[in-house]
């Protein structure tokens, strides 16, 4: 048992964080709001490819670094901190590894890994796609489409830098197997949401230390302190669920840990009711393995991180007061990203329904 990160994971996280802190500030985000296909934004995409970010989940023999989900989640959290307006979750965490596993049937991988192309993904065509005007590739469960094989209708997202669109296929596409697109997207979004939540908290902590009313910093008032303590608790309790789900993605048959069940002796614990039986190991014997365990872990991560980031956003806005309620202050761009990602790849209540289903309480929600 070791709930921490290895040197390699920390190194790639820090490399990305360091790069983003220099190159992906508020100015870049404002530029993405004005023009999501702007050259500065594309340049950051290329630079991330040079660091190897797009290929983190792609095996080395297919041109990636094959580092794994924990590194991916740490990196995505850093991009969340910066509210980076690029489809990194879709490209690096969803599309590239699935395409690589399928043997790259459409020849998409090269351009995605070298930073010249982007991929957008969603759990189905009735979901909104980000980066709709700039992505060269569109992925839904089981099928990959080239830009000229779809019709894109722009949708005004509350977050203009999302560049959202409704996508309809008009061509054949190619088969890209993989029934875990939604798990990948949901976990990637969860990791970004942890970063967004931490950024909202940090920026607000900084603000309430500076802003003075009644002759003192407003951060000295207990009401303000308690707002931010609640946000910190929600975000820091959600984060380990995200890292654990990342580990679980790479270890789907790993022991579930006693938590997944642990009913009183003799009673039918949740997993005993629904989990596949017969696996070895005491703790595994009481928790769902494989797909059920991954679903539980991912849904927990997505629901908790969405709610935590929402809460951090509300507390951040409240503590900023009227200045936060403007588009002149940068806070709104972080808030709006939270609202979008909380809805993407399954809302919190959608994921709670899935958890309930794993506990034997009702049917799972439909995917779309």
């Amino acid at each position: 048992m070791f709930f921490g990160f290895d040197d390699e994971e920390v190194a790639v996280r820090d490399a990305v964080a360091s790069y983003l802190s220099k190159k992906a500030g508020v100015d870049l985000l404002r530029e993405a709001w004005a023009d999501p296909s702007g050259s500065a934004v594309r340049q950051v995409w290329s630079e991330l490819a040079r660091i190897g970010v797009q290929g983190l989940l792609v095996p080395a023999e297919a041109g990636g670094s094959g580092m794994g989900w924990v590194a991916m989640a740490l990196v995505l959290a850093e991009t969340g901190r910066a509210a980076l307006a690029l489809p990194l979750a879709e490209t690096a965490a969803v599309g590239a590894p699935l395409i690589a596993a399928a043997g790259d049937p459409a020849g998409a991988l090269g351009g995605l890994l070298d930073g010249s192309e982007m991929l957008s993904a969603a759990p189905g065509f009735d979901w909104l796609f980000p980066a709709a005007s700039t992505a060269e590739w569109f992925l839904v469960p089981g099928r990959l489409y080239r830009r000229d094989e779809v019709v894109v209708e722009a949708v005004a997202s509350v977050d203009r830098s999302r560049d959202a669109g409704r996508v309809t296929p008009c061509g054949e596409g190619v088969a890209v197997p993989g029934d875990d697109l939604l798990e990948r997207g949901a976990l990637a979004a969860a990791a970004v949401l942890v970063g967004l939540g931490r950024a909202l908290l940090d920026t607000t902590v900084g603000y309430v230390k500076e802003r003075r009313q009644f002759g003192v910093p407003i951060g000295s008032f207990q009401a303000v302190k308690h707002h931010l303590a609640d946000a910190a608790m929600a975000v820091e309790m959600a984060a380990p669920a995200v890292w654990a789900a990342a580990w679980r993605m790479d270890n789907p048959d790993g022991p579930a840990g006693p938590s997944a069940a642990g009913g009183p002796a003799g009673s039918a614990g949740p997993s005993a009711a629904v989990g596949p039986a017969g696996s070895a190991g005491l703790s595994a014997a009481v928790g769902p393995d494989g797909a059920g365990g991954v679903r539980l872990a991912v849904s927990t991560a997505k629901a908790l991180s969405s709610d935590a980031a929402y809460l951090a956003g509300r507390k951040a806005l409240q503590c900023h007061g009227a200045i936060g309620y403007t588009v002149e202050h940068h806070l709104h761009m972080w808030l709006k990203r939270v609202w979008c990602l909380a809805a993407a790849f399954g809302s919190p209540s959608w994921h709670r329904r899935r958890v309930a289903a794993e506990l034997g309480l009702g049917a799972p929600p439909p995917a779309s």
Binding site: M233, G263, S267, V355
Partner: protein
């Protein structure tokens, strides 16, 4: 990251599970917060001790197994999974003992720890006073120097199971005229000493789980001082760190509770709104379990419990209240029955108050974790 357990840890879990399955009383003991129930719980504690399960993480010389923190977590999971009795030795083993290990003299460690593990000495906590609750530094109970030691005078209150315990640990003002955190000393007091009067009274659930302890010129010796004279606050804070952190309420307790909740929902049936609340409770308990694995990894690498323990305390206490409210909702009209879930609900309501109110914890999080200015 590696969230699998080692072979040794799995073997430890198997041994604990087997022993608990064979030994946990078939029908629940009466509440340990009554005289009769307490005595039965002490018998259970002695059985735990005889089989070296009462304090698994302590060194063997004191009656433990020298188990790692990981194994302690595993034992807790198995303990609550098995539906084993509440730990009436908890205030000693989990709250006082960490301070004795850190600040106690070798003599105190030899003298006190084995008797504590064996449930011979039963410890209760003497922090709060009628005028010092959240504002704990407002303590006025005093310790006066005598020729042979100290004379204690004052009143402690909200002392859990004080009417049934044999010893009290608490803070007393030992420097006349001192204020706030300075001039306090940490004392270990036998409750059968002349001058001690204990009056038990009913908690919210009606059990006599609370007591007030009056000290009227109680004589104790220098061997009954824990840590340095005048430095009692730091010693006490080490204990409250344990209390808010993982030792008081390990994840195993909530994992087991939420599992019983899911059982209840399956048995009685539930509507989608109730299923949503059960799912939330399950996720909250899981989040606490994972957060704790992160904490224990840090501690195993030499970290110290910090203000993060206040995050723990707010989380588990508020989660526990929601969990029980969900259970009562599932019970329907039977919710009012003074049974398992209502009792659990009443107990959960104490969580946001004891071990430092959640308002105090939020101040600690804001000031020490986030760095906001003190008011």
């Amino acid at each position: 990251m590696d969230l699998s357990w080692s072979k040794e840890d799995e073997a430890f879990r198997a041994e604990a599970r087997r022993w608990l399955e064979e030994n946990v009383p078939r029908s629940p003991l009466p509440s340990g917060d009554t005289q009769e129930g307490f005595a039965l719980h002490v018998e259970w504690e002695k059985l735990l001790f005889e089989n070296r399960w009462s304090a698994v993480s302590w060194p063997e010389e004191y009656g433990g197994r020298g188990a790692s923190l990981w194994q302690w977590l595993i034992f807790e999971e198995e303990y609550y999974r098995a539906g084993a009795p509440q730990r009436v030795t908890q205030n000693g083993i989990f709250l006082l003992a960490p301070s004795i290990f850190e600040f106690g003299t070798p003599d105190q460690q030899r003298r006190l720890l084995p008797r504590m593990a064996a449930a011979v000495d039963l410890w209760c906590q003497g922090w709060s006073e009628p005028g010092a609750g959240s504002d704990l530094a407002g303590i006025t109970s005093r310790a006066e120097r005598t020729e042979r030691g100290w004379r204690l005078t004052g009143q402690k209150t909200w002392t859990t199971r004080g009417a049934f315990c044999t010893h009290l640990f608490g803070l007393f003002r030992s420097e006349p005229g001192s204020t706030r955190h300075r001039g306090l000393t940490y004392f270990l007091v036998p409750l059968d000493a002349p001058g001690v009067t204990v009056r038990g009274f009913g908690r919210l659930d009606g059990d006599e789980g609370f007591a007030e302890v009056f000290l009227d010129g109680v004589e104790v010796g220098d061997q009954d001082v824990l840590g340095e004279v005048g430095r009692g606050w730091s010693v006490a804070m080490a204990t409250t760190g344990s209390e808010r952190g993982l030792t008081l309420r390990s994840p195993g307790r909530f994992v087991a509770a939420v599992s019983r909740l899911a059982d209840l929902a399956r048995r009685r049936g539930c509507d989608p709104a109730q299923a949503d609340r059960v799912a939330q409770a399950w996720m909250d308990a899981e989040a606490y379990r994972l957060y704790t694995l992160q904490t224990v990894t840090d501690l195993a690498r030499g970290g110290r419990p910090g203000p993060e323990s206040s995050l723990n305390k707010i989380w588990w206490s508020e989660m526990d209240v929601r969990l029980h409210e969900t259970a009562l909702d599932l019970c329907g009209a039977d919710a009012e029955v003074d049974g398992e879930w209502m009792r659990g609900y009443e107990f959960s309501l104490a969580g946001p108050i004891y071990a430092g109110t959640n308002e105090i914890q939020r101040n600690i999080v804001a000031e020490r974790l986030l760095g906001l200015p003190r008011s």
